[in-house]
Symmetry: C2
Subunit: 255 residues, 2 copies
Protein backbone atom coordinates (compact mmCIF):
# COMPACT_ATOMS: atom_id res chain seq x y z
CA UNK A 1 0.00 0.00 0.00
CA UNK A 2 0.88 3.64 -0.36
CA UNK A 3 0.23 5.22 3.03
CA UNK A 4 0.03 8.92 3.90
CA UNK A 5 1.21 9.33 7.49
CA UNK A 6 0.42 12.42 9.55
CA UNK A 7 -0.29 13.42 13.15
CA UNK A 8 -1.04 16.40 15.37
CA UNK A 9 1.95 16.21 17.73
CA UNK A 10 4.22 17.34 14.89
CA UNK A 11 6.73 15.73 12.54
CA UNK A 12 9.44 15.59 15.24
CA UNK A 13 7.36 13.51 17.64
CA UNK A 14 8.24 10.00 18.71
CA UNK A 15 4.81 8.56 17.91
CA UNK A 16 5.06 9.25 14.18
CA UNK A 17 8.58 7.82 14.06
CA UNK A 18 7.59 4.48 15.58
CA UNK A 19 4.51 4.31 13.38
CA UNK A 20 6.65 4.97 10.31
CA UNK A 21 9.01 2.16 11.29
CA UNK A 22 6.20 -0.40 11.53
CA UNK A 23 4.05 0.70 8.59
CA UNK A 24 7.18 0.98 6.45
CA UNK A 25 7.85 -2.77 6.78
CA UNK A 26 5.45 -3.63 4.00
CA UNK A 27 4.23 -0.30 2.65
CA UNK A 28 5.42 2.85 0.93
CA UNK A 29 4.97 5.57 3.55
CA UNK A 30 4.89 9.32 2.82
CA UNK A 31 5.02 11.65 5.82
CA UNK A 32 3.27 15.05 5.68
CA UNK A 33 2.84 16.41 9.20
CA UNK A 34 2.61 19.71 11.07
CA UNK A 35 5.94 21.39 11.84
CA UNK A 36 4.89 21.98 15.45
CA UNK A 37 2.42 20.51 17.91
CA UNK A 38 -1.20 21.22 16.95
CA UNK A 39 -3.14 19.74 19.84
CA UNK A 40 -6.82 20.67 20.27
CA UNK A 41 -7.03 22.40 16.90
CA UNK A 42 -10.04 20.28 15.98
CA UNK A 43 -10.93 20.42 12.32
CA UNK A 44 -9.36 23.86 11.75
CA UNK A 45 -8.02 24.66 8.30
CA UNK A 46 -5.73 27.56 7.41
CA UNK A 47 -7.19 30.00 4.89
CA UNK A 48 -5.69 33.34 5.93
CA UNK A 49 -2.02 32.34 6.26
CA UNK A 50 0.34 30.72 3.77
CA UNK A 51 1.23 27.08 4.33
CA UNK A 52 5.03 26.85 4.44
CA UNK A 53 6.42 23.44 3.54
CA UNK A 54 9.89 22.21 4.47
CA UNK A 55 11.66 18.93 3.79
CA UNK A 56 12.68 17.24 7.00
CA UNK A 57 15.23 14.47 7.54
CA UNK A 58 14.43 12.69 10.80
CA UNK A 59 18.04 11.52 11.36
CA UNK A 60 17.85 8.64 9.00
CA UNK A 61 14.47 7.39 10.29
CA UNK A 62 12.56 9.01 7.45
CA UNK A 63 12.23 12.00 5.16
CA UNK A 64 9.02 13.98 5.31
CA UNK A 65 7.26 17.24 4.58
CA UNK A 66 6.77 19.59 7.55
CA UNK A 67 3.80 21.93 7.05
CA UNK A 68 3.17 25.13 9.01
CA UNK A 69 -0.49 24.26 9.40
CA UNK A 70 -3.04 21.99 11.01
CA UNK A 71 -3.43 18.21 10.59
CA UNK A 72 -6.42 18.78 8.26
CA UNK A 73 -4.26 21.18 6.18
CA UNK A 74 -1.58 18.48 5.92
CA UNK A 75 -3.99 15.88 4.53
CA UNK A 76 -5.57 18.31 2.07
CA UNK A 77 -2.20 19.60 0.87
CA UNK A 78 -0.67 16.13 0.66
CA UNK A 79 -3.47 14.56 -1.36
CA UNK A 80 -4.01 17.59 -3.61
CA UNK A 81 -0.40 18.62 -4.17
CA UNK A 82 2.47 16.83 -2.49
CA UNK A 83 1.74 13.16 -3.15
CA UNK A 84 1.90 12.20 -6.81
CA UNK A 85 -0.31 9.13 -6.67
CA UNK A 86 -3.39 9.08 -4.47
CA UNK A 87 -2.61 7.17 -1.24
CA UNK A 88 -4.48 3.95 -0.42
CA UNK A 89 -4.68 4.83 3.25
CA UNK A 90 -4.24 7.77 5.63
CA UNK A 91 -2.88 7.01 9.10
CA UNK A 92 -2.80 9.72 11.78
CA UNK A 93 -0.83 9.30 15.00
CA UNK A 94 0.31 7.94 17.31
CA UNK A 95 -1.19 10.69 19.45
CA UNK A 96 -0.08 11.23 23.02
CA UNK A 97 -3.35 11.14 24.97
CA UNK A 98 -6.59 9.25 24.37
CA UNK A 99 -9.18 10.64 21.96
CA UNK A 100 -12.42 9.26 23.35
CA UNK A 101 -15.89 10.57 24.15
CA UNK A 102 -16.74 14.17 23.35
CA UNK A 103 -13.00 14.99 23.31
CA UNK A 104 -12.92 13.48 19.82
CA UNK A 105 -14.31 16.72 18.37
CA UNK A 106 -11.29 18.73 19.62
CA UNK A 107 -8.80 16.23 18.23
CA UNK A 108 -6.43 17.18 15.45
CA UNK A 109 -5.42 13.51 15.18
CA UNK A 110 -8.98 12.41 14.45
CA UNK A 111 -9.65 15.38 12.17
CA UNK A 112 -6.76 14.29 9.92
CA UNK A 113 -8.42 10.89 9.50
CA UNK A 114 -11.80 12.54 8.94
CA UNK A 115 -10.22 14.70 6.26
CA UNK A 116 -8.88 11.59 4.55
CA UNK A 117 -12.39 10.10 4.60
CA UNK A 118 -13.84 13.32 3.13
CA UNK A 119 -11.32 13.09 0.30
CA UNK A 120 -12.29 9.46 -0.32
CA UNK A 121 -9.26 7.72 1.21
CA UNK A 122 -9.74 5.06 3.95
CA UNK A 123 -8.30 6.49 7.16
CA UNK A 124 -7.23 5.51 10.66
CA UNK A 125 -6.50 7.72 13.69
CA UNK A 126 -4.53 6.13 16.51
CA UNK A 127 -3.88 7.41 20.03
CA UNK A 128 -2.31 6.05 23.19
CA UNK A 129 -3.85 6.65 26.60
CA UNK A 130 -1.08 8.60 28.32
CA UNK A 131 0.68 11.95 28.10
CA UNK A 132 3.93 10.53 29.47
CA UNK A 133 6.62 9.02 27.27
CA UNK A 134 5.15 5.58 26.53
CA UNK A 135 6.22 2.45 24.70
CA UNK A 136 4.68 3.11 21.30
CA UNK A 137 5.54 -0.36 19.95
CA UNK A 138 2.28 -2.19 20.80
CA UNK A 139 0.15 0.61 19.31
CA UNK A 140 2.32 0.76 16.17
CA UNK A 141 2.13 -3.00 15.71
CA UNK A 142 -1.64 -2.86 16.01
CA UNK A 143 -1.81 0.03 13.54
CA UNK A 144 0.05 -2.11 10.99
CA UNK A 145 -2.32 -5.04 11.53
CA UNK A 146 -5.36 -2.79 11.23
CA UNK A 147 -3.99 -1.10 8.10
CA UNK A 148 -3.83 -4.51 6.45
CA UNK A 149 -7.39 -5.32 7.53
CA UNK A 150 -8.68 -2.00 6.17
CA UNK A 151 -6.88 -2.80 2.92
CA UNK A 152 -8.55 -6.21 2.85
CA UNK A 153 -12.12 -5.32 3.90
CA UNK A 154 -12.34 -1.65 2.88
CA UNK A 155 -14.31 1.04 4.70
CA UNK A 156 -17.71 2.53 3.78
CA UNK A 157 -17.67 6.03 2.23
CA UNK A 158 -17.18 8.97 4.61
CA UNK A 159 -16.01 6.64 7.39
CA UNK A 160 -12.74 6.40 9.27
CA UNK A 161 -11.57 4.44 12.31
CA UNK A 162 -10.70 6.06 15.63
CA UNK A 163 -8.36 3.74 17.54
CA UNK A 164 -7.28 4.12 21.18
CA UNK A 165 -4.68 1.88 22.78
CA UNK A 166 -4.15 1.46 26.55
CA UNK A 167 -0.70 2.52 27.79
CA UNK A 168 0.13 -0.83 29.35
CA UNK A 169 2.48 -3.69 28.45
CA UNK A 170 1.25 -5.53 25.35
CA UNK A 171 0.71 -8.78 27.27
CA UNK A 172 -1.78 -7.03 29.55
CA UNK A 173 -3.98 -5.73 26.72
CA UNK A 174 -7.13 -7.85 26.90
CA UNK A 175 -8.17 -7.63 23.27
CA UNK A 176 -10.00 -5.38 20.83
CA UNK A 177 -13.47 -3.88 21.19
CA UNK A 178 -15.48 -2.15 18.48
CA UNK A 179 -17.18 0.71 20.31
CA UNK A 180 -19.34 3.80 19.95
CA UNK A 181 -18.19 7.30 20.93
CA UNK A 182 -19.03 7.94 24.59
CA UNK A 183 -19.75 11.18 26.43
CA UNK A 184 -16.57 11.48 28.48
CA UNK A 185 -15.40 15.05 28.12
CA UNK A 186 -12.73 17.59 28.89
CA UNK A 187 -14.00 19.63 31.83
CA UNK A 188 -12.31 22.99 31.72
CA UNK A 189 -11.37 25.49 34.33
CA UNK A 190 -9.86 28.93 33.84
CA UNK A 191 -6.94 30.46 35.70
CA UNK A 192 -7.46 34.26 35.80
CA UNK A 193 -4.37 36.49 35.77
CA UNK A 194 -3.47 40.13 35.22
CA UNK A 195 -0.49 41.03 33.04
CA UNK A 196 2.05 43.81 33.92
CA UNK A 197 -0.02 46.23 31.79
CA UNK A 198 -3.17 45.49 33.82
CA UNK A 199 -4.78 43.39 31.07
CA UNK A 200 -6.87 40.44 32.19
CA UNK A 201 -6.13 37.05 30.69
CA UNK A 202 -7.04 33.44 31.35
CA UNK A 203 -5.23 30.13 30.98
CA UNK A 204 -7.59 27.40 29.91
CA UNK A 205 -6.87 24.31 31.91
CA UNK A 206 -8.93 21.25 32.52
CA UNK A 207 -8.99 17.52 32.66
CA UNK A 208 -11.06 14.55 31.60
CA UNK A 209 -12.47 13.16 34.82
CA UNK A 210 -13.40 9.47 34.89
CA UNK A 211 -17.04 8.96 34.05
CA UNK A 212 -19.51 6.13 34.38
CA UNK A 213 -19.77 5.19 30.72
CA UNK A 214 -21.81 2.44 29.13
CA UNK A 215 -19.97 -0.77 28.44
CA UNK A 216 -20.05 -0.34 24.66
CA UNK A 217 -18.22 3.02 24.61
CA UNK A 218 -14.66 3.94 23.62
CA UNK A 219 -13.77 5.28 27.08
CA UNK A 220 -15.07 2.17 28.84
CA UNK A 221 -13.15 -0.24 26.59
CA UNK A 222 -9.97 1.71 27.20
CA UNK A 223 -10.50 1.84 30.96
CA UNK A 224 -10.91 -1.95 30.93
CA UNK A 225 -7.58 -2.45 29.11
CA UNK A 226 -9.02 -3.12 25.65
CA UNK A 227 -7.97 -1.48 22.40
CA UNK A 228 -11.00 0.55 21.27
CA UNK A 229 -11.97 1.00 17.60
CA UNK A 230 -14.81 3.40 16.82
CA UNK A 231 -16.06 3.86 13.25
CA UNK A 232 -16.69 7.58 12.82
CA UNK A 233 -18.19 9.79 10.14
CA UNK A 234 -18.90 13.49 9.79
CA UNK A 235 -22.68 13.55 9.54
CA UNK A 236 -23.66 15.59 12.60
CA UNK A 237 -27.43 15.33 12.00
CA UNK A 238 -29.41 14.28 15.07
CA UNK A 239 -31.81 12.03 13.15
CA UNK A 240 -33.77 11.07 16.28
CA UNK A 241 -34.87 14.67 16.74
CA UNK A 242 -35.74 15.47 13.10
CA UNK A 243 -39.38 14.41 13.34
CA UNK A 244 -40.28 16.31 16.50
CA UNK A 245 -38.49 19.42 15.22
CA UNK A 246 -40.70 19.24 12.10
CA UNK A 247 -43.75 19.64 14.35
CA UNK A 248 -42.58 23.04 15.61
CA UNK A 249 -44.26 26.19 14.35
CA UNK A 250 -41.98 28.69 12.63
CA UNK A 251 -44.58 31.34 11.95
CA UNK A 252 -44.35 34.62 13.77
CA UNK A 253 -47.71 35.41 15.38
CA UNK A 254 -46.33 37.74 18.02
CA UNK A 255 -46.39 41.04 16.12
CA UNK B 1 -34.26 34.80 28.61
CA UNK B 2 -30.62 35.34 29.32
CA UNK B 3 -28.80 34.84 26.01
CA UNK B 4 -25.07 34.39 25.40
CA UNK B 5 -24.29 35.81 21.97
CA UNK B 6 -21.11 34.91 20.08
CA UNK B 7 -19.89 34.40 16.51
CA UNK B 8 -16.81 33.57 14.47
CA UNK B 9 -16.56 36.72 12.36
CA UNK B 10 -15.50 38.68 15.46
CA UNK B 11 -17.09 41.12 17.88
CA UNK B 12 -16.79 44.02 15.42
CA UNK B 13 -18.84 42.32 12.70
CA UNK B 14 -22.16 43.56 11.43
CA UNK B 15 -23.93 40.22 11.86
CA UNK B 16 -23.53 40.12 15.64
CA UNK B 17 -24.67 43.74 15.94
CA UNK B 18 -27.95 43.16 14.10
CA UNK B 19 -28.55 39.94 16.02
CA UNK B 20 -27.97 41.78 19.29
CA UNK B 21 -30.50 44.44 18.30
CA UNK B 22 -33.24 41.88 17.63
CA UNK B 23 -32.56 39.43 20.46
CA UNK B 24 -32.22 42.37 22.86
CA UNK B 25 -35.86 43.37 22.33
CA UNK B 26 -37.13 40.84 24.83
CA UNK B 27 -34.01 39.24 26.31
CA UNK B 28 -30.95 40.02 28.34
CA UNK B 29 -28.04 39.55 25.90
CA UNK B 30 -24.38 39.10 26.91
CA UNK B 31 -21.82 39.27 24.12
CA UNK B 32 -18.60 37.23 24.37
CA UNK B 33 -16.99 36.95 20.94
CA UNK B 34 -13.57 36.60 19.31
CA UNK B 35 -11.59 39.80 18.94
CA UNK B 36 -10.79 38.99 15.31
CA UNK B 37 -12.24 36.85 12.54
CA UNK B 38 -11.90 33.11 13.26
CA UNK B 39 -13.29 31.53 10.10
CA UNK B 40 -12.62 27.83 9.45
CA UNK B 41 -11.18 27.22 12.91
CA UNK B 42 -13.61 24.34 13.41
CA UNK B 43 -13.82 23.18 16.99
CA UNK B 44 -10.34 24.40 17.94
CA UNK B 45 -9.71 25.41 21.55
CA UNK B 46 -6.74 27.36 22.85
CA UNK B 47 -4.62 25.52 25.41
CA UNK B 48 -1.10 26.79 24.74
CA UNK B 49 -1.78 30.55 24.65
CA UNK B 50 -3.41 32.83 27.19
CA UNK B 51 -6.91 34.07 26.43
CA UNK B 52 -6.83 37.87 26.62
CA UNK B 53 -10.17 39.47 27.37
CA UNK B 54 -11.05 43.10 26.64
CA UNK B 55 -14.22 45.08 27.21
CA UNK B 56 -15.57 46.48 23.99
CA UNK B 57 -18.08 49.28 23.45
CA UNK B 58 -19.64 48.89 20.04
CA UNK B 59 -20.48 52.60 19.66
CA UNK B 60 -23.56 52.50 21.78
CA UNK B 61 -24.96 49.34 20.14
CA UNK B 62 -23.72 47.10 22.91
CA UNK B 63 -20.96 46.33 25.39
CA UNK B 64 -19.24 43.00 25.11
CA UNK B 65 -16.18 40.91 25.94
CA UNK B 66 -13.66 40.44 23.12
CA UNK B 67 -11.60 37.26 23.55
CA UNK B 68 -8.31 36.53 21.80
CA UNK B 69 -9.43 32.99 21.04
CA UNK B 70 -11.75 30.77 19.07
CA UNK B 71 -15.57 30.68 19.18
CA UNK B 72 -15.43 27.48 21.28
CA UNK B 73 -13.05 29.26 23.72
CA UNK B 74 -15.54 32.13 23.99
CA UNK B 75 -18.42 29.85 24.97
CA UNK B 76 -16.32 27.90 27.48
CA UNK B 77 -14.88 31.04 29.06
CA UNK B 78 -18.24 32.82 29.11
CA UNK B 79 -20.19 30.03 30.78
CA UNK B 80 -17.39 29.07 33.20
CA UNK B 81 -16.12 32.52 34.11
CA UNK B 82 -17.54 35.66 32.55
CA UNK B 83 -21.31 35.18 32.88
CA UNK B 84 -22.56 35.17 36.44
CA UNK B 85 -25.76 33.23 35.90
CA UNK B 86 -25.88 30.33 33.46
CA UNK B 87 -27.44 31.51 30.17
CA UNK B 88 -30.73 30.00 28.96
CA UNK B 89 -29.57 30.00 25.35
CA UNK B 90 -26.42 30.37 23.25
CA UNK B 91 -26.79 32.07 19.85
CA UNK B 92 -23.86 32.11 17.40
CA UNK B 93 -23.86 34.34 14.32
CA UNK B 94 -24.95 35.78 12.03
CA UNK B 95 -22.16 34.20 9.99
CA UNK B 96 -21.24 35.54 6.57
CA UNK B 97 -21.44 32.45 4.35
CA UNK B 98 -23.61 29.34 4.55
CA UNK B 99 -22.63 26.46 6.83
CA UNK B 100 -24.14 23.47 5.08
CA UNK B 101 -23.03 19.97 4.09
CA UNK B 102 -19.60 18.76 5.09
CA UNK B 103 -18.49 22.40 5.50
CA UNK B 104 -20.27 22.35 8.86
CA UNK B 105 -17.26 20.58 10.43
CA UNK B 106 -14.93 23.50 9.60
CA UNK B 107 -17.33 26.08 10.99
CA UNK B 108 -16.44 28.16 14.02
CA UNK B 109 -20.02 29.44 14.09
CA UNK B 110 -21.45 25.94 14.44
CA UNK B 111 -18.74 24.85 16.89
CA UNK B 112 -19.77 27.65 19.27
CA UNK B 113 -23.32 26.25 19.29
CA UNK B 114 -22.00 22.70 19.69
CA UNK B 115 -19.95 23.89 22.66
CA UNK B 116 -23.09 25.36 24.23
CA UNK B 117 -24.83 21.99 23.78
CA UNK B 118 -21.86 20.17 25.36
CA UNK B 119 -22.13 22.49 28.37
CA UNK B 120 -25.85 21.77 28.62
CA UNK B 121 -27.23 25.05 27.23
CA UNK B 122 -29.68 25.00 24.26
CA UNK B 123 -27.88 26.56 21.30
CA UNK B 124 -28.49 27.99 17.84
CA UNK B 125 -25.97 28.74 15.06
CA UNK B 126 -27.18 31.06 12.29
CA UNK B 127 -25.57 31.86 8.94
CA UNK B 128 -26.56 33.78 5.83
CA UNK B 129 -25.82 32.45 2.36
CA UNK B 130 -23.51 35.17 1.02
CA UNK B 131 -20.06 36.62 1.65
CA UNK B 132 -21.12 40.07 0.44
CA UNK B 133 -22.58 42.72 2.72
CA UNK B 134 -26.16 41.47 3.09
CA UNK B 135 -29.35 42.66 4.76
CA UNK B 136 -29.07 40.81 8.07
CA UNK B 137 -32.57 41.86 9.22
CA UNK B 138 -34.58 38.84 7.98
CA UNK B 139 -32.09 36.37 9.49
CA UNK B 140 -32.01 38.28 12.79
CA UNK B 141 -35.81 38.39 12.97
CA UNK B 142 -35.93 34.65 12.36
CA UNK B 143 -33.28 34.04 15.03
CA UNK B 144 -35.47 35.87 17.54
CA UNK B 145 -38.53 33.82 16.59
CA UNK B 146 -36.54 30.57 16.81
CA UNK B 147 -35.01 31.56 20.15
CA UNK B 148 -38.53 31.87 21.55
CA UNK B 149 -39.52 28.48 20.12
CA UNK B 150 -36.44 26.83 21.63
CA UNK B 151 -37.36 28.43 24.94
CA UNK B 152 -40.89 27.04 24.62
CA UNK B 153 -40.19 23.49 23.35
CA UNK B 154 -36.64 22.89 24.62
CA UNK B 155 -33.98 20.86 22.83
CA UNK B 156 -32.84 17.29 23.58
CA UNK B 157 -29.49 16.91 25.39
CA UNK B 158 -26.33 17.33 23.29
CA UNK B 159 -28.31 18.90 20.45
CA UNK B 160 -28.14 22.33 18.83
CA UNK B 161 -29.75 23.88 15.76
CA UNK B 162 -27.81 24.86 12.65
CA UNK B 163 -29.77 27.54 10.78
CA UNK B 164 -29.01 28.84 7.28
CA UNK B 165 -30.92 31.74 5.74
CA UNK B 166 -30.99 32.57 2.01
CA UNK B 167 -29.57 36.00 1.15
CA UNK B 168 -32.70 37.23 -0.61
CA UNK B 169 -35.43 39.75 0.26
CA UNK B 170 -37.61 38.46 3.10
CA UNK B 171 -40.73 38.33 0.91
CA UNK B 172 -38.99 35.87 -1.43
CA UNK B 173 -38.10 33.37 1.30
CA UNK B 174 -40.44 30.43 0.70
CA UNK B 175 -40.59 29.10 4.24
CA UNK B 176 -38.70 26.93 6.69
CA UNK B 177 -37.45 23.37 6.16
CA UNK B 178 -36.11 21.02 8.82
CA UNK B 179 -33.24 19.24 7.07
CA UNK B 180 -30.39 16.81 7.47
CA UNK B 181 -26.73 17.70 6.86
CA UNK B 182 -25.85 17.11 3.21
CA UNK B 183 -22.55 16.27 1.56
CA UNK B 184 -21.83 19.57 -0.19
CA UNK B 185 -18.20 20.38 0.53
CA UNK B 186 -15.40 22.88 0.18
CA UNK B 187 -13.23 21.65 -2.69
CA UNK B 188 -9.77 23.04 -2.17
CA UNK B 189 -7.00 23.95 -4.53
CA UNK B 190 -3.48 25.13 -3.65
CA UNK B 191 -1.59 28.03 -5.17
CA UNK B 192 2.16 27.22 -5.02
CA UNK B 193 4.61 30.10 -4.56
CA UNK B 194 8.24 30.65 -3.67
CA UNK B 195 9.21 33.39 -1.21
CA UNK B 196 12.22 35.73 -1.66
CA UNK B 197 14.32 33.31 0.44
CA UNK B 198 13.49 30.37 -1.87
CA UNK B 199 11.07 28.76 0.59
CA UNK B 200 8.05 27.02 -0.91
CA UNK B 201 4.62 27.93 0.39
CA UNK B 202 1.01 27.36 -0.63
CA UNK B 203 -2.15 29.40 -0.36
CA UNK B 204 -5.14 27.21 0.31
CA UNK B 205 -8.02 28.34 -1.84
CA UNK B 206 -11.17 26.59 -2.84
CA UNK B 207 -14.86 26.87 -3.26
CA UNK B 208 -18.07 24.99 -2.59
CA UNK B 209 -19.29 23.96 -6.02
CA UNK B 210 -23.02 23.35 -6.45
CA UNK B 211 -23.88 19.70 -5.94
CA UNK B 212 -26.87 17.52 -6.69
CA UNK B 213 -28.14 17.08 -3.15
CA UNK B 214 -31.18 15.15 -1.95
CA UNK B 215 -34.29 17.21 -1.35
CA UNK B 216 -34.16 16.81 2.44
CA UNK B 217 -30.68 18.33 2.90
CA UNK B 218 -29.58 21.71 4.22
CA UNK B 219 -27.89 22.76 0.97
CA UNK B 220 -30.94 21.86 -1.13
CA UNK B 221 -33.37 23.79 1.10
CA UNK B 222 -31.13 26.84 0.91
CA UNK B 223 -30.74 26.58 -2.88
CA UNK B 224 -34.55 26.49 -3.17
CA UNK B 225 -34.93 29.70 -1.11
CA UNK B 226 -35.99 28.08 2.15
CA UNK B 227 -34.55 28.73 5.59
CA UNK B 228 -32.85 25.46 6.62
CA UNK B 229 -32.78 24.18 10.21
CA UNK B 230 -30.67 21.08 10.94
CA UNK B 231 -30.61 19.52 14.42
CA UNK B 232 -26.99 18.56 15.07
CA UNK B 233 -25.14 16.68 17.76
CA UNK B 234 -21.54 15.64 18.35
CA UNK B 235 -21.80 11.87 18.28
CA UNK B 236 -19.60 10.95 15.30
CA UNK B 237 -20.20 7.19 15.57
CA UNK B 238 -21.13 5.54 12.28
CA UNK B 239 -23.72 3.19 13.82
CA UNK B 240 -24.57 1.56 10.47
CA UNK B 241 -21.03 0.22 10.21
CA UNK B 242 -20.61 -0.99 13.82
CA UNK B 243 -21.93 -4.50 13.21
CA UNK B 244 -19.83 -5.33 10.15
CA UNK B 245 -16.72 -3.90 11.80
CA UNK B 246 -17.34 -6.31 14.70
CA UNK B 247 -16.97 -9.22 12.26
CA UNK B 248 -13.40 -8.24 11.34
CA UNK B 249 -10.50 -10.27 12.70
CA UNK B 250 -8.00 -8.34 14.80
CA UNK B 251 -5.61 -11.20 15.45
CA UNK B 252 -2.19 -11.12 13.89
CA UNK B 253 -1.58 -14.37 12.05
CA UNK B 254 1.10 -13.03 9.74
CA UNK B 255 4.17 -13.56 11.87
Amino acid sequence: MKILLTNDDGIYSKGIEVLHKHLGKDNEVIVVAPETEQSAVGHAITLTDPLLVKSVDRNGSFFGHAVKGTPADCVKLAINELVEQRPDLVVSGINLGANVGINVIYSGTVSAATEGAILGVPSIAISIDTFRDPDFEPAARFARLLANQVNKYGLPPHTSLNVNVPAIPESEIKGVRVTRQGVTRFVESFDRRVDPRENVYYWQCGSTPPLQEDDDTDACALAKDYISITPIHHDLTNYDFLRSLRSWSFTDNSE
